[in-house]
Symmetry: C2
Subunit: 243 residues, 2 copies
């Protein structure tokens, strides 16, 4: 059964009103008819609703059932990544949404070989948000990952003070706690994890993160590409907390 | 420093001889010159070698150092997947190679919506092997994942007898051991894990796998796409065994 995210103000019990893109998707793509059922989620409650009325302007559904789903990770995760190619950003946004991340934060870092400013990023924002929403629908999440505006590395350091655990993945990692030791028996609320761009993280950036109390973690003995590292991290976190 | 996989018979200590595609890559793509260094790996020993002689026919390197790297998972993992589109197979082969899998086994399953026979697959085999080799080089593995020929589901069931742990990922999983319980405090040598195609695993297939002592596992509370599920599994395994 198809899933759709709606705003709370679209729910007027026992009815849910649908217009715009979703209406187009339902009538043209899914070719829905009266009595067809879908899931709606207002990022809190999930509804099963049946299509009641089709008009030129709107679709009216009747709620048949409502419930709370437990699909979300018990911790908010912000995945920060040095700027990479658009296709790679899209892949990461899709995959980490499926794995339960809350935010994706692109960061300008020393070894980024892609030039991107917020103006360029804004044009891509619509596409990124669509990918996140579709991945959330497909994976039956009740919340949608948010893609944040581009920030500089210094701003990220300041931002890190709002998290109770800040991590960065670094390949040449010795003398550090294992990720398992860090995650075990701890109940963090907000985790920030930094993954470098294709060129990696510079020594200077490592030093600054160390100064800001980031913990250095290894994602296993093999070298992961920048688009694979966030997926490894999210899977490890889910395995530790949800399995 | 660039890494290359070689055959044992290319090593004639203290020399390593390179011809063919690698010679082309080194001279034309990397534009290497005498005294440039690379890593070579014969799937057992890793060598650091320096380019000594460039001729029309071959390149001769001199070994400067040799050592054993510990980059491989302590268990052989065969990832079986219901046949999916070529692009998705390529993504999975790349990602699970980076995460340490040993074999990728495409399987004809009930809900596959792609028609593929071994003749078609053979044409793609060269490309798949290149992807696996490049991912292994890039992730600094010492072994290359092998893409196996397509088999039918029944043959997979027979094949499963050669493994000491057989698993399948199933979304609607209740009353089962968690993946963590299965992996913890066990030392498996050969693990087989089955991930359904986009249409999922049929009830009949589940029943057959249950009969063949497969264990049903969940990969967290969210629904993962068929190309993401194997990556989750490999990351969880690496986290459990290597972290």
């Amino acid at each position: 059964m198809q899933r759709y995210f709606i705003e709370k103000n679209q729910v007027n019990k026992p009815f849910i009103k649908i217009t715009g893109d979703y209406m187009h998707h339902m009538t043209r793509v899914m070719r829905m008819r009266v009595h067809d059922k879908v899931y709606f989620c207002d990022q809190e409650t999930t509804y099963i609703a049946s299509l009641e009325t089709i008009s030129q302007l709107e679709l009216i559904f009747v709620i048949e059932e409502e419930f709370i789903e437990e699909k979300e990770l018990p911790v908010n995760v912000t995945v920060c990544q040095g700027v990479v190619r658009k296709e790679k950003m899209e892949e990461v946004i899709d995959h980490i949404t499926e794995m339960g991340a809350s935010f994706y934060q692109p960061v300008v870092m020393d070894f980024c070989n892609i030039k991107l400013d917020n103006e360029k990023l804004e044009k891509k924002q619509v596409r990124f948000n669509t990918i996140a929403r579709e991945a959330a629908e497909q994976s039956h999440r009740t919340k949608v990952l948010e893609v944040k505006p581009l920030i500089k590395f210094k701003a990220l350091l300041e931002e890190s003070k709002n998290f109770d655990l800040c991590l960065y993945a670094y390949e040449k990692s010795t003398n550090m706690d294992s990720l398992k030791t860090i995650l075990k028996n701890n109940t963090y609320k907000n985790i920030l994890v930094v993954v470098g761009p294709e060129g990696g993280i510079s020594k200077e950036e490592c030093k600054l993160m160390d100064d800001f109390n980031f913990k250095r973690i290894s994602l296993g003995p093999r070298i992961l590409r920048t688009e694979v590292a966030p997926v490894y991290f999210m899977a490890a976190l889910s395995y530790e907390l949800e399995n």
